[in-house]
Symmetry: C2
Subunit: 137 residues, 2 copies
DNA sequence: AAAAATAGTGCAACACTGTTGCATATTTAA
DNA sequence: TTAAATATGCAACAGTGTTGCACTATTTTT
């Protein structure tokens, strides 16, 4: 199960890590620190949750998504990422009604014209709108 | 000068508004609340600066840019925006070295495939990389 | 199996961003 | 020039995120 993931990334297997990873495995939306805090079974210190999220981020288990609220959300990396390389450059969607952030794993970010003098490392694309569940018809 | 802008948007002409707007007119990068705080000539209350920025945002004088730090930055709207409509859907660039955020006013956000069930209102695109001044060669 | 080294957790404290309510001051319109 | 409307300053607060340090748990070494 998830234990292999930790071994693969040289992370010790602990309760909070298992629980936090489970939250992401079971969720189809991006989760923030406070989302996780509510989802966790046991109570853990706020700081420990932050550190757990950051270590997952560093190891390439999660990627960070920025929505318009300025609050960091996280989601599982679908492809093999590690501490050296993140391959998640897909589009994200934020519903303006329910505030959910969704990864469009299959929608790659379109290419942009080359910019003289600028080097590009990463591109973030966030689509804002209304998701299917929140449509009023 | 800038007074016309305030009249046009039904904002009273006050010292802080003139100063804050000047900051943006003179800056070619996006500015955060704390950037403004440092740039201002006179000292104003933090809250007043926040409110000034928000009223400019509402009236379409500024638009909000989100960089990866979660801190809101603002930049002048180039085209005629107002409280009902924002027309700024250009690409933004954030330099990973100097942290400056720049508007690429002339680079429109490319079209995306239509998503069944999702309606799109706005698209945010942030390019991260290194700007010309920070290139090491 | 015990000791040493390493890594993870909890707590206290803090910094920063942003908001609200309310009293006071300033603009603008009448 | 007064009244109404709007803007400002202050105090207080909530939320997000970080750091340092002591303590605990897990590995590795002997």
């Amino acid at each position: 199960m998830t234990d292999n993931i930790f071994k693969k990334h040289n992370l010790r297997i602990t309760d909070i890590r298992k629980e936090v990873l489970d939250c992401f495995v079971q969720s189809d939306i991006a989760l923030s620190h406070s989302d996780i805090e509510l989802l966790l079974f046991k109570e853990y210190d706020r700081v420990t949750i932050y550190r757990t999220l950051n270590s997952f981020l560093e190891k390439g288990i999660l990627h960070k998504v920025f929505d318009d609220s300025g609050v960091a959300k996280f989601a599982l990396c679908k492809y093999d990422c590690n501490e050296h390389q993140h391959n998640d450059n897909h589009v994200h969607f934020k519903c303006e009604v329910c505030s959910k952030v969704i990864c469009f794993h299959d929608m790659q970010i379109p290419h942009l014209p080359v910019l003289k003098g600028f080097s590009i490392h990463h591109i973030n694309l966030l689509v804002q709108g209304v998701c299917p569940e929140c449509q009023v018809q």
